[in-house]
Symmetry: C2
């Protein structure tokens, strides 16, 4: 099933009481700096610290009761694991999260805090898939992938839906792109509600598979990502790619240096904690004239980063 | 003139288009941790990064045009200086900010960025007062003090006014207390709109002059403050003290260790940047049973802190 705009609206109704309607913030200084009017949709302030809670909650709430009771499972060393754990706890069903034993302790702690069972595995993709397969067979749980899933994509699109309802006449909306769930969900919402507006993706130059995939017309695997933006190292998903081909205006790339500078601006000027991935769209907006004099919506994707372990060189920008 | 509740409502109308109506955030995790229902009014997301913009804007907008044209002046090494500079720029009048030459470069930069004239002086209070007096005589500017001023107090109270309008049935509201402008303005707003609710102040144990002043019934000077919360080292003002005696339930004190732990929770769990002073009320709520099972409003006062210079030991709390 390919998701569509109606799916985003349904998702919005379905998850409404389980997620935060996050604020939209503005900054005179960042408007001056960019030459645009920027509207920041703060998914870093979302429950579990990222937009992922929307997609996971929509997927978990879409399961029929019999299926749901057997639980849900995924593999993730990042925000999707914590989001799924939270969504499952809220519905009162088990969650199993396969994580490499090499993942940072802070990631384990986030998933464990929401009461999920953590299944440790080796560091390779094959290790993860084998461990997940084993969990699914033993428990009968339903696999909820991080982005290549209609209900997940529709859920991620609800952030843009809220943004478009809160701010009129946006010219452009821009999100980070890793697996493509957020970008494709956003494109579905924006193209239906604000047909005149364009949707952009932004990604690190060291993980530019989305850019190359759109240019070449087929999914290009992300073999050796090299970027500080740990949330954007995945290869694009099949469903997101299909939507992006039709509804995304362009993908912009930025350097890690630009990401760190944008992150510093968001921390010091807007007083919000964002992870590197979340700073990528602002970095893109500051790096081109394409957004000048426009009304631009930016989805700030998440805030899960250790303030004691900031990237070195996050100095005055 | 002593400020009253009507002054807060007037201030709210007067500054409405010049300040952010900041969001009220909640956190399931901090509710669980505190045993209370907490509503955070995010003045760290206010323009210029602190509630001070409210009071300064109200004071500047209250001046008649002839007086305003001659400019405004203050002495401040903190948020009030930047707030006054911003408020003056918005009205198109000059601002003069007297700052000790020992103040951090980042504070100078904030004031200068808003176009104020910075007047350097020596580090003592006598130096500052002499420099200010000199500015006032030379320019005819109006002195806008940081807290001991009716329009400033009324302006600071507008944050609580918005909070009480946004969240029904609060049992308690708590703010940090330094000079007392925010706490007294808050008490005026809360006692009028939610007469059943109590207003509390919270301050560092190493700068507990407000606590001692209320106990002894007269203002106790803060001679040698010793706390990380740099915004709360001032001695209580005369006008704030008069209001607090009648309308504040109690002042709670917390250690610097508790402040740092609360600051860490706000950064990592709520994903917002707060300065140490802003974490003081949450530290107080976590340190007592007095707020258990209540609906508690917390004014997060500001977010002006350098993420690269976090207090050491802001470790996992």
């Amino acid at each position: 099933m390919e998701p569509d705009h109606a799916g985003v609206v349904q998702a919005s109704e379905r998850i409404r009481t389980h997620v935060h309607q996050t604020p939209v913030l503005t900054s005179t200084l960042l408007d001056e700096r960019s030459g645009a009017q920027l509207f920041f949709k703060c998914e870093n302030l979302q429950r579990a610290g990222a937009f992922k809670t929307r997609g996971a909650t929509n997927a978990v709430r879409s399961l029929v009761q019999d299926t749901a009771q057997r639980g849900v499972a995924t593999h993730s060393s990042g925000n999707h694991g914590a989001a799924l754990a939270l969504a499952a706890r809220e519905r009162g069903i088990p969650a199993h999260v396969v994580m490499p034993h090499t993942a940072p302790a802070i990631k384990h702690a986030a998933v464990a805090a929401y009461g999920a069972e953590i299944v440790s595995c080796g560091p390779t993709l094959a290790d993860r898939e084998a461990a997940l397969q084993n969990v699914l067979e033993q428990t009968g749980a339903t696999f909820i992938p991080p982005y290549d899933h209609a209900h997940v994509i529709a859920g991620q699109g609800t952030a843009a839906l809220e943004l478009c309802r809160a701010v009129s006449d946006l010219d452009q909306v821009i999100t980070p792109v890793g697996g493509g769930g957020l970008l494709s969900g956003t494109a579905l919402a924006v193209s239906a509600i604000m047909p005149g507006a364009e949707t952009y993706g932004a990604e690190p130059a060291g993980a530019d598979d989305a850019c190359r995939s759109l240019q070449l017309g087929s999914i290009q695997p992300m073999d050796a990502p090299d970027t500080i933006a740990d949330g954007l190292r995945s290869t694009l998903g099949r469903l997101p790619f299909a939507i992006m081909r039709r509804r995304v205006a362009d993908i912009l790339t930025v350097t890690d240096r630009e990401i760190i500078d944008a992150m510093h601006l968001l921390w010091t000027r807007m007083k919000i904690v964002v992870e590197p991935s979340a700073a990528v769209p602002l970095a893109a907006v500051l790096g081109t004239d394409r957004f000048r004099d426009r009304r631009v919506g930016i989805i700030l994707s998440g805030g899960n980063v250790d303030p004691q372990a900031l990237p070195s060189g996050m100095s005055d920008a």
